[in-house]
Symmetry: C2
Subunit: 165 residues, 2 copies
DNA sequence: TCTTTATTGGCATCTTCTGCCAATTTTAGC
DNA sequence: GCTAAAATTGGCAGAAGATGCCAATAAAGA
């Protein structure tokens, strides 16, 4: 039930939690100009509605030994719808794949793969990815530099509603 | 100073916070088999070391009116190093671009762009992206379906150290 | 304008956070 | 294997935050 349309306060709550998910409810309430009670109620509602899907720590990839990010374009043999489904399910289960989308264009799927180094990627590619059902072509694009990561979703202007004294 | 190597407990802390950044310290401590004090100290240290880069709420894109995700491959005119830098900086400032990487392969940069719909993308493309410095070629791949999103980074086995009774 | 409904703010209680210290465990050297 | 030094842990106490409830306020509708 995607009912409620968001008001300015909801948007500011979402923006704040997107920036820092560990804000205390008191801080958050202050930031959106509300007292703690209704603020918490709104957060709970946003969670219940599914607008907030979760809260996650962002880790330093290099720091946890995952120095190599690869964007992988995959073509699957169409014609067999079943195989595309099998591919999807297989991909979801692979821990090295942190995101996967069905896309238009050259490739059918675009995966973001995270591994320790080139050797690990080679193992992943030949040992896992190439063996998935229906895979017909793979194009690997290595991330050389990260220009922007984890950018916040651009919520439409959580503009402060002016208030006259 | 990227000094400390992570032990099993640190990895479990990271894994837990990656899954749910709003765990209370008490819950987290319980999950990693530690009392709250040392647990909190480890979290603080991981933050200070930069291993934890932040905590973010994951929002439902459709729910906040951002129904279209596009992966955009961009070629920039090499030769002019300065222009590549200008492009990088411009891209960081664009709210529609939630991630950007310098990559090997066909394109020079791979951007992930989030907008409301096709009309908004058209505006973004012609009004913004095509006008950036040094851009020579753009390839847009539209996300048709999200197979996997926000997958956790695969931390090396936070395996429970067996304990005999 | 008068109802009816939804939302807010404050309060009381319970839980959690967080700094400090002694006790325990781990590490290093011999 | 044993001792000394260093690091880590667990518990405690005061401070801060979370959360359910209710009356008051604001918004919507008739």
């Amino acid at each position: 039930m995607p009912n409620t349309r968001l008001d300015a306060i909801d948007r500011r709550i979402l923006a704040a939690l997107q920036r820092d998910a560990r804000l205390s409810n008191v801080q958050l309430a202050e930031e959106v100009n509300l007292s703690p009670s209704p603020c918490l109620r709104r957060v709970r509602q946003l969670e219940a509605e599914g607008l907030i899907r979760g809260y996650h720590a962002e880790l330093d990839r290099g720091g946890v030994g995952l120095g190599l990010t690869v964007f992988v374009g995959v073509k699957v043999e169409r014609h067999h719808e079943a195989e595309a489904n099998a591919f999807r399910e297989a991909v979801v289960a692979l821990p090295e794949v942190i995101s996967a989308h069905l896309v238009s264009g050259e490739s059918d799927f675009l995966l973001q793969v995270v591994v320790a180094d080139l050797a690990a990627y080679e193992r992943f590619l030949t040992g896992t990815l190439l063996r998935l059902p229906g895979v017909s072509d793979i194009r690997s694009n290595f991330a050389i530099q990260s220009v922007k990561e984890h950018g916040p979703l651009p919520l439409t202007q959580p503009e402060d509603k002016g208030r006259s004294p």
